[in-house]
């Protein structure tokens, strides 16, 4: 029986010829990536175990991304300083602090950690975005500490589902609309639990690397545990530039590999969608919610904080103003993207439009910035739309593409971006 990409990566990490979905195997990851939020817990657990350092520090990546602002009323400054103390004490190298990094999803790709065929344990399913470069994210939780100190852990080999994408996106349609179509069909079901979702097809080949990452970063909401895709020349060129000689292994799913589920989407069938609160499956065409007044619009989160996302927002905002009464926050995904956005003039477009550009970080998506009051409404490119995530339990969070969010910011109400985009 043939193997899928995920099975091949797991086989390599397990030192095996092949693995079968459902079986329990021990794997040694190429990297374990974590963030600062868990640091107090990691420190406690290391004390409990009597361990003072990581088994193989070069295989661990730690990033400050959720709490880049240590605001009044948070306890984040203590958390950050404790982590910095550890880094200093142990000489730990792969630490990416505020101002040096961005979201760990992007740190992994920009710094060449995410390379084809590598197995990565992380503390978040959205880091599946690294699958755009052929690396397999296996999300766990604070349990990342286990592989940090032992360099191995068990997993149950997941089934793979395959979604084949064809066609080309129409006017005003964005990769987020594909995400939303998949969520509409799968988020209220458990069909993709706990699978690896493999995206394939000519529609994927046409997507930019930024958009591929965005697509995989959202696979979790459709139910998948992780996600991946084949790497093509475009992805390999990016990897080779950043790998700096570090090894990687290009895998493709075998022709006779078994997929537990198959589905297909034609990009030309999509139109701009909006996900209405409070669940991911509440996906409607933008026309159905058009006109709903908003208080806040945000572009950011690991779903939409790469350069193409900022360009899309800027395409709408150029020469326009954010509506009176609407606050707009924009969070670039990394220092690198922040710098590129500045060089391209995107930041000027945003500031002239009246938007607030934050420093790279999870920021508004983590819910501690841009907090919503009772009955307030936001539209965002965030990952989540459940009650209470962005402040009040009674606030409403709609989700959409950077086009939809920017168009809504300008109109002061949920709006169809096609009316503002040049043909």
């Amino acid at each position: 029986m043939g193997q899928t990409i995920a099975q091949k990566i797991i086989s390599r990490a397990a030192g095996r010829e092949a693995v079968t979905p459902g079986e329990f195997v021990m794997v040694s990851p190429d990297y374990t990536v974590g963030c600062e939020l868990y640091w107090p817990m990691h420190a406690k657990h290391m004390r409990d175990m009597g361990v003072e350092r990581f088994a193989n520090p070069d295989k661990v990546v730690l990033v400050v991304d959720h709490t880049t602002y240590t605001g009044t009323g948070t306890a984040y400054e203590r958390l950050q300083s404790d982590l910095r103390d550890f880094v200093k004490r142990t000489g730990f190298k792969n630490f990416f602090d505020v101002g040096r990094a961005g979201l760990r999803h992007l740190v992994m790709t920009e710094r060449g950690f995410a390379r084809p065929g590598l197995f990565v344990f992380s503390d978040e399913p959205n880091i599946a975005s690294i699958g755009a470069f052929g690396a397999l994210n296996m999300p766990i939780s604070w349990e990342v500490l286990v592989t940090m100190v032992t360099n191995e852990n068990w997993i149950q080999v997941p089934d793979t589902a395959r979604i084949t994408v064809t066609g080309k996106m129409g006017h005003g349609v964005y990769v987020r609309d594909l995400v939303q179509a998949v969520n509409r069909d799968f988020a209220a079901t458990d069909k993709l639990l706990p699978m690896c979702l493999e995206y394939a097809g000519p529609g994927i080949a046409d997507l930019s690397l930024d958009n591929r990452q965005a697509l995989l970063a959202c696979a979790y909401h459709a139910g998948a545990n992780t996600a991946i895709m084949e790497v093509d020349d475009k992805a390999l060129a990016y990897v080779e530039e950043r790998a700096k000689g570090r090894p990687f292994y290009v895998y493709k799913s075998d022709a006779d590999a078994k997929f537990a589920l198959e589905a297909s989407y034609d990009l030309s069938d999509l139109s701009p969608f909006v996900t209405a609160p409070p669940v991911q499956s509440n996906v409607v065409e933008v026309g159905e919610v058009k006109g709903i007044k908003i208080n806040q619009a945000t572009v950011g989160s690991c779903a939409s904080n790469r350069l193409d996302d900022l360009r899309a927002a800027a395409e709408i905002l150029k020469g326009r103003q954010v509506a009176s009464g609407v606050t707009m926050y924009i969070s670039p995904g990394s220092q690198e993207i922040y710098g590129q956005a500045a060089a391209e003039g995107l930041l000027t477009t945003f500031t002239e439009a009246g938007a607030v550009v934050m420093s790279p970080g999870c920021n508004t998506c983590w819910g501690y910035l841009g907090v919503l009051n009772d009955e307030e409404v936001s539209i965002s490119t965030h990952q989540e739309n459940y009650r209470g995530r962005n402040g009040s339990f009674n606030a409403k969070v709609y989700l959409g593409s950077p086009y939809v969010v920017a168009a809504s910011a300008v109109k002061g109400e949920i709006a169809d971006p096609r009316e503002m985009l040049a043909d």
Binding site: A75, Y76, L193, Y368, Y386, R387
Partner: protein
């Protein structure tokens, strides 16, 4: 006996969110401290079943539907365990959620058919090593996957940290070198 549980069932439906259902996100956002299990325990299921907080007893069992507790940050299972629940069975859930339970010493078992097998307030018996789940009230038994030995031992020791500490101590005894997990 390791891996054996018997208790009153608290039954919940499909698509019950962990972060906006079992708990709410206010419990999650402040990750800055090691979890306050007692506070979390007082929150869990409070808005879903008003009887839960009043009547839950140590050793009770939670039975969930499809996509149980998705999404759930780590606080969710910490809260459920601290409320007294000793085992969770559900139709389906995230792979990650299963790990979050075993890591702190509470088994989470994906067991298709569990919602048909048992009703609220009935008594359930679970034998993880044998892979058997029995409704004591009806006498009907459901077979499920047997739990791997490593996970049973983790449960017995109270989670992955004591498990690793134990295996480390059985090794070279040098607290300065990292522990090796047993395969």
């Amino acid at each position: 006996m390791a891996g054996k549980y018997r208790g009153r069932v608290w039954k919940f439906g499909d698509n019950l969110s962990g972060d906006d259902g079992i708990l709410d996100f206010s419990a999650v956002r402040d990750h800055s401290q090691v979890f306050d299990a007692k506070t979390l325990s007082k929150m869990c299921f409070a808005t879903i079943n008003s009887k839960f907080q009043e009547e839950v007893k140590q050793g009770d069992i939670v039975v969930g539907g499809a996509s149980f507790a998705k999404p759930a940050h780590d606080q969710v299972v910490v809260g459920i365990q601290a409320a007294g629940i000793e085992a969770i069975l559900c139709e389906s859930c995230e792979a990650r959620f299963v790990r979050k339970g075993f890591n702190i010493g509470i088994p989470i078992i994906v067991c298709p058919g569990i919602t048909e097998l048992v009703e609220q307030d009935q008594t359930l018996e679970v034998d993880l090593a044998a892979g058997l789940v029995t409704n004591i009230d009806t006498g009907v038994t459901l077979e499920t996957n047997a739990c791997p030995d490593r996970l049973l031992e983790m449960l017995e020791l109270g989670g992955v940290i004591p498990y690793l500490a134990q295996h480390f101590d059985r090794g070279d005894g040098n607290k300065d070198s990292p522990p090796r997990a047993a395969g």
